[in-house]
Symmetry: C2
Subunit: 454 residues, 2 copies
């Protein structure tokens, strides 16, 4: 037998606590502000929108570890642990001295890492007597996960899906419906926020920002209904740390420790999930690991955005969050990585970036699909367009190793598979995909509008 390819934990080895990086951050993020009063907001106010337990987790800066409820752990066992895989074939194809590992979150039947937080949030909803949940989704990975999680905990789910993604990936709405969710394209005529957007621009193709506005409005006007979010917020990244905590144990099985940790970046949930547990060793033990968040060239909030209080949604319903942002009314190009079409970065990641504990890279769409094709043909897995950003960043780093003639251990998160995104691969193969760069002026114009708000 030859070298070990996959590293897997038995059910009894799956971590039973999430890691709360807020407790360890050298500089805590600024507080979220009430959108009306502009005063710091407490968990009680957040709990009017979100599940109470999630609202408390959102602002918990003291507890380093938070117990995973037993019912959630039970559901995690449906698909966890996910494998840590050594990408020998990819290494060979790019002839790199680097060791490349990936955490394969695509093995779970919901298609991506999103289920890790969906189960937690729906569990808390059920515990707290909530009967209905509503949310936004882009490419539909979060919506699919939420639909199943709601069904398994006996909740009704209503999902607003970004209209352009719904058109690009029709199967994802079918998946949500198969799990019993109601799905509406956003912007829609079913909310005031949606109507306002469509009045200004009837051809509006939607964004995560528009879909969040609509879901929030539905939650706030429906009894026993809570809003659940798939990324950006602290408690979502908290639930996702199961990824990095498993990976830490699995890297130990492999006898290695990552020099570089890479994930794609939309709002921050899969990046935080894999990075925060390793960042804890950088913050607390001084380990010299580098953290890279890979974002689309067309939505570059980390590399070209401004650190500023901004809304999480297009209509301006959410609390104001301190974030690197392109402005909440920024309209991302219609790239296939729907999950990365978001204007702002989560609070924790924004603070980490400010403090130089991580960095962003932005990658053109065509390069991401080149990376995805190479990964598919070597490792046998067709990656989600979002995950292709992490692969492209990994390939860049691995090629650098080759140029510099030095070895390095790279760990990236394969956040999901691309089986529902085959029309994007078709376009790439046919040469019909394009890059979308944006001008400094466009970013400045969007960000400048913010200064009048706050």
């Amino acid at each position: 037998m030859t070298k070990q390819k996959k590293f897997i934990l038995q059910e009894s080895e799956i971590p039973t606590q999430w890691y709360n990086i807020l407790a360890d951050l050298p500089n805590k993020p600024l507080p979220p502000l009430h959108p009306g009063t502009k005063e710091p907001i407490g968990w009680e106010a957040l709990a009017q929108i979100f599940p109470t337990e999630c609202a408390k987790q959102e602002l918990n800066t003291t507890d380093q570890w938070i117990d995973i409820p037993e019912e959630v752990l039970d559901k995690y066992k449906f698909y966890r642990s996910t494998p840590l895989v050594r990408a020998y074939e990819l290494e060979k194809a790019i002839d790199t001295p680097a060791h490349i590992y990936f955490k394969n979150e695509s093995t779970n039947p919901l298609g991506s890492h999103k289920i890790n937080s969906a189960l937690a949030q729906c569990y808390y909803c059920k515990q707290e007597g909530t009967t209905n949940v509503t949310t936004e989704t882009g490419a539909g990975q979060w919506g699919a996960a939420l639909a199943y999680a709601a069904k398994t905990f006996g909740l009704e789910a209503a999902v607003y899906q970004v209209k352009i993604s719904m058109q690009q990936k029709p199967y994802r709405s079918s998946i949500m419906r198969t799990f019993g969710a109601a799905v509406t394209g956003s912007p829609s005529m079913s909310t005031r926020a949606g109507k306002d957007l469509l009045t200004i621009d009837p051809t509006h193709s939607g964004s995560l920002g528009t879909a969040i506005s609509e879901a929030l409005e539905l939650a706030s006007t429906t009894p026993h209904c809570k809003y659940v979010l798939g990324s950006v917020l602290n408690h979502v990244s908290l639930h996702q740390t199961i990824i990095g905590l498993e990976a830490e144990k699995q890297m130990a099985q492999a006898g290695e420790y990552p020099d570089t940790v890479i994930a794609c970046f939309g709002g921050g949930s899969n990046f935080g999930g894999i990075a925060f547990p390793f960042l804890r060793h950088r913050i607390l033990d001084g380990r010299n690991t580098e953290f890279i968040a890979a974002e689309p060239e067309s939505c570059p909030k980390l590399t070209r955005g401004k650190f500023q209080y901004d809304f999480g949604d297009e209509a301006g319903y959410t609390p104001l969050l301190p974030m690197f942002t392109l402005g909440h009314q920024f309209k991302p190009a219609n790239i296939h990585a729907g999950g990365l079409r978001y204007h702002g970065a989560g609070m924790i990641v924004s603070q980490l970036l400010k403090d130089g504990l991580m960095r962003g890279v932005d990658i053109p769409q065509i390069e991401t699909f080149q990376a995805g094709m190479l990964f598919a043909q070597t490792e046998g897995i067709i990656p989600a367009p979002e995950s292709c950003h992490a692969i492209a960043a990994t390939i860049r780093e691995a090629k650098k190793c080759k140029e510099e003639g030095r070895g390095k251990v790279i760990l990236f998160n394969l956040s999901g598979h691309g089986l529902i995104d085959m029309s994007a691969y078709d376009q790439f193969i046919n040469g019909d995909l394009q890059n979308y760069s944006i001008s400094d002026q466009e970013i400045t114009d969007n960000v400048n509008q913010l200064e009048q708000i706050i």
Copy 2:
């Protein structure tokens, strides 16, 4: 922590040999016959079409165990072992005293069990100096697996996909193209067999039988090109026994042994894969396990076909095989389970059925999707339409247990996921699916034609 949900083998525990049931069968199958001379055919003749090693395996009735080549084992490690899962939620939903386990072949990135044989066949091709492979595919699970296996062993692949399946599931052709394969809808104008079929019926929507004819013709007219088959033949089931051999170890981990083993049935590859290793204990040790093959009501060769020599393809290019058949010119209804739209059963299964060592059940399309929806909403996995047949048969058995007030251990093979088949689920949810029953007369008419051939 509560009850264990998944049973997983470490890489070092993955079986290193396949099980060859031909060595243990109480009655060996009749020999395949040359289509021209009607004389028994040897491996040398088969090796003109198939990889030589596969041709030898096809007729090997002496070796009980066959070593898995190390390079194939290395590729198996990309996705094996697959989990054995206890379906607690499904049991709860149907309130059964039965213990239901499923072997989850859907976790591999190619979407189904088919990769287990694709890797083996492409490996042998490469070893033997073949540069091109060609094959047929229905729903595309086999074609996708073959496309990746060919790519990973450096072969060119040409796939004939059943035209109706290509239209129903366009993403599967995209997957094949992503792995670098050339894909043609069958019947096509690119072969004589295809032209003949289209001349008689220009609207012919294809079947596995037509696609096999076209692939065979391409192989026999192309230098350094071999034909590889995804089911039916003995060597394909041989490679698939990795499923049952793993399951045997995993059932032991769970401390149980199956009373009933169930799989869906097209040509027999996933059924043989899970059943043969357990059948060995029935044949050799007298264990009283029952084996059920679940086929579509619209393609009922096991329950209503005739045992008879027949061709494996529509045009009559293949050797004549002793099989339960509906006649090689039987045109299966356009059900979504494309992988089950085949007129005949493999030689080993046909012999087992004749000898009363297994039985078939046939299931209407709507019942299969009802089962698939329930499975998705309880276990979180959207099953392939083919696999829905196994689930429906499992539910029937589990409900019987409840009626009879007795426990039982049921193991079924979840051969693949249904993420590329969402249009079928959409139709089911919208109430647009139908059942297709066929008359005795239709079967008799098709089978009677055979008697003039042999």
